[in-house]
């Protein structure tokens, strides 16, 4: 006797939180599986969500991470975004609202941090053909000093590779992004010994608690 495969159950996937726009808003069919991305309001906040399969969302699934990121990028165009950890799926709308109620204080705090700001990333790696590791200290000091002047906060991130000499996230006012970019370009042109990668703008993932809607490790509720 053959077992019938059961269709995967759907839940409500939350991409980010924004200040409530005042009325229900749709961001189009850009969610998982081409589902509509819409707002779920609780007091002055809205979760930006869509229907999605109720499953574990793997950190290594680049396609799904890209879908999450595309939605957030779209929302960021006109809103300050409190980012939410990738993989935050709820069984139903009622549980989203319950979590928002619990997370009210954290959302208020988060919005204060991200309002009018974006995150920019800097990675510096040693060059491939280098045999001995050149002294990175003075160069990193100059980078940190100059970029510190044009940002409101920064966070050192994990050096996950032996090639990485700096991995840092900067919180920058939206209207200072061009100034920040000019500083990065000026610093890059001075450096011949290391390679620099500049990325963003991103939502401020490294400056707020992205698990505000859940303390569960995988974000399923």
């Amino acid at each position: 006797m053959k077992h019938k495969s059961r269709p995967m159950e759907n839940g409500v996937y939350v991409y980010c939180v924004i200040r409530a726009p005042g009325e229900a808003k749709s961001f189009g069919n850009i969610g998982f599986g081409g589902n509509e991305v819409y707002t779920i309001d609780y007091k002055e906040f809205s979760s930006v969500a869509s229907v999605a399969p109720l499953k574990k969302y793997d950190m290594e699934n680049e396609k799904e991470i890209e879908t999450h990121q595309n939605v957030v990028n779209e929302v960021m165009k006109d809103n300050s975004v409190i980012p939410v950890a990738y993989g935050m799926i709820f069984k139903n709308r009622k549980l989203v609202l319950a979590s928002m109620r619990v997370a009210q204080k954290a959302m208020k705090k988060g919005l204060k941090v991200v309002e009018g700001k974006v995150e920019l990333g800097i990675k510096i790696i040693s060059q491939q053909e280098q045999t001995g590791r050149p002294e990175a200290g003075p160069f990193i000091d100059e980078f940190e000093k100059e970029l510190g002047k044009v940002s409101s906060d920064s966070k050192k991130l994990k050096l996950f590779s032996k090639r990485l000499v700096l991995n840092k996230a900067y919180l920058v006012d939206k209207d200072r992004v061009d100034t920040f970019s000019d500083s990065v370009e000026a610093l890059k042109s001075k450096c011949k010994v290391f390679n620099v990668q500049y990325s963003g703008p991103w939502p401020a993932y490294n400056f707020v608690d992205i698990k505000i809607l859940s303390k569960h490790r995988e974000g399923r509720r």
């Binding site: 290594e60 491939q128 590779s161 090639r163 990485l164």
Partner: protein, 88 residues
């Protein structure tokens, strides 16, 4: 029984050069297994592979092949961890 005998003899203050060498080899083997089966190390390698692709140091083909290899390894490691297998 090897480990038991080795430990027991060490406790009694008896040092047998041959046994010590075997013990060291066992330890090296265990450490190598631990490194190979540590999901964090594999995750770091996945990130490094992505980073080198983004920096333009490796082609899309090399990136994809390495990613597939690392993802398979991570899947195996996670299966082993779920089965509660430990190497130390």
């Amino acid at each position: 029984m090897f480990l038991f005998d080795d430990v027991l003899m060490s406790m009694m203050g008896v040092s047998v050069p041959g046994l010590n060498l075997f013990s060291t080899l066992e330890l090296i083997k265990d450490l190598a297994y631990k490194e190979l089966y540590d999901p964090e190390i594999t995750r770091n390698e996945i990130k490094e592979n992505r980073m080198l692709y983004e920096f333009g140091e490796i082609s899309e083909e090399v990136y994809t092949a390495r990613k597939t290899e690392l993802m398979n390894r991570l899947e195996q490691v996670q299966k082993l961890l779920n089965a509660n297998v430990s190497f130390l």
